[in-house]
């Protein structure tokens, strides 16, 4: 049972963000800009960054949700699976490999990002803005993962739930909207 009373119809992060919509708003705005705003990284690539950080934090809800979002945006399931379990052989660009390495370091601690990791990313063609956004996405999911698990929110077991949530994340993004979660019910 969650540590504070949350809407039973809204599992994982969704009920937590609804507990206080005024504090949730800047978090949602930040997420929308980072994951859906104009960028030289695709939406799918940015969802992969969210996925590896959530996986590193062993946050089941966020890992399943962002894996499903990456899958639907990339149109296949292999990439998200491999970046979590076999990153050396993941079918992503050399640049993405270096950015995902930075994200994994940030998940543990900001101090774990080395000059070598940054140099590798730049050598693979990453821009300063891409490195900035990678670090901030990884930091943001260090926040989300702690909210989801810190409140012991409900983690649905059925994969179909995350596929429904991924459709919402793809079609509506991260900002608040009317009847946002109408499509969550199975």
């Amino acid at each position: 049972m969650p540590h504070i009373p949350l809407d039973e119809k809204l599992p994982g992060i969704t009920g937590i963000l609804n507990f206080r919509t005024d504090t949730a708003l800047p978090i949602r705005e930040l997420t929308q800009t980072l994951l859906r705003g104009p960028s030289t990284l695709t939406e799918g690539e940015r969802e992969l960054i969210a996925t590896v950080v959530s996986h590193g934090n062993e946050c089941k809800f966020c890992t399943a949700a962002h894996t499903a979002a990456a899958d639907i945006l990339l149109g296949e399931k292999e990439t998200a699976e491999k970046v979590k379990h076999d990153p050396d052989h993941a079918p992503v660009s050399p640049k993405m490999k270096t950015l995902l390495a930075i994200a994994r370091a940030v998940q543990v601690s900001g101090k774990n990002v080395t000059i070598q990791m940054v140099d590798n990313a730049k050598a693979a063609g990453a821009t300063d803005l891409e490195i900035h956004d990678t670090v901030l996405i990884a930091a943001l999911f260090s926040l989300y993962n702690r909210l989801v698990d810190g409140f012991a929110s409900v983690t649905p077991a059925e994969p179909a739930f995350y596929e429904r949530l991924a459709v919402i994340l793809k079609d509506k993004g991260y900002l608040p909207s009317e009847n946002r979660y109408a499509g969550l019910k199975g």
Binding site: H3, I4, V113, V118, A138, R146, L147
Partner: protein, 179 residues
């Protein structure tokens, strides 16, 4: 030097990053403003103590010192207060309720799963409300984000406590939207 070329590399810590990308800086500042200075049954001094304590545990010198200085400004303490945060507030009077909330925050810093039923029960027995527990977890989680952002991009930070006192005064009096 930071890992990326900032627009103004004279600006320390998160200040240079907020300036680098305004689209992300605006919501980051707005979140700090509502969490640390918005309406709450916890004082701003108490909330800045939680922020600084988590930042110290993440070994983020800039955030530990700047939010320690903000707490000092709210609580009329001198620069030595920033060192007392490292010791877990041995010289500072801390209410039993705030002690239980600092304990929750320390567990959030380690990982969300480290927060136990017993941690929450201890806070409730000292009178903490759902909203206070929510805000404590969110402040702690938010600083796990800010700390990683500041150190993950290799920003610079003034070494001495005294250097942070004017910044703490500004954060306490004018808030987070003035940066």
């Amino acid at each position: 030097m930071a890992h990326i070329q900032l627009l103004n590399d004279q600006l320390p810590g998160i200040v240079g990053l907020l300036d680098y990308r305004k689209e992300t800086g605006q919501p980051l500042s707005a979140l700090a403003e509502i969490l640390l200075r918005g309406e709450s049954t916890l004082t701003s001094g108490e909330r800045e103590m939680i922020a600084s304590y988590v930042s110290y545990k993440n070994d983020c010198h800039f955030c530990h010192s700047s939010h320690g200085a903000a707490a000092a400004a709210h609580l009329n303490k001198d620069a030595n207060f920033i060192d007392d945060i490292k010791l877990g507030f041995v010289k500072t009077q801390v209410s039993p309720k705030l002690r239980t909330l600092l304990n929750i925050a320390a567990h959030v810093q380690q990982g969300g799963k480290k927060v136990t039923e017993a941690d929450i029960a201890a806070a409730r027995s000292e009178g903490a409300t759902d909203r206070e527990i929510h805000d404590t977890v969110l402040i702690a989680a938010a600083f796990c984000m800010y700390n990683r952002y500041v150190d993950g991009l290799g920003t610079w930070a003034p070494p001495n406590n005294e250097a942070y006192m004017p910044m703490g005064e500004k954060l306490a009096k004018q808030g987070y939207m003035s940066f």
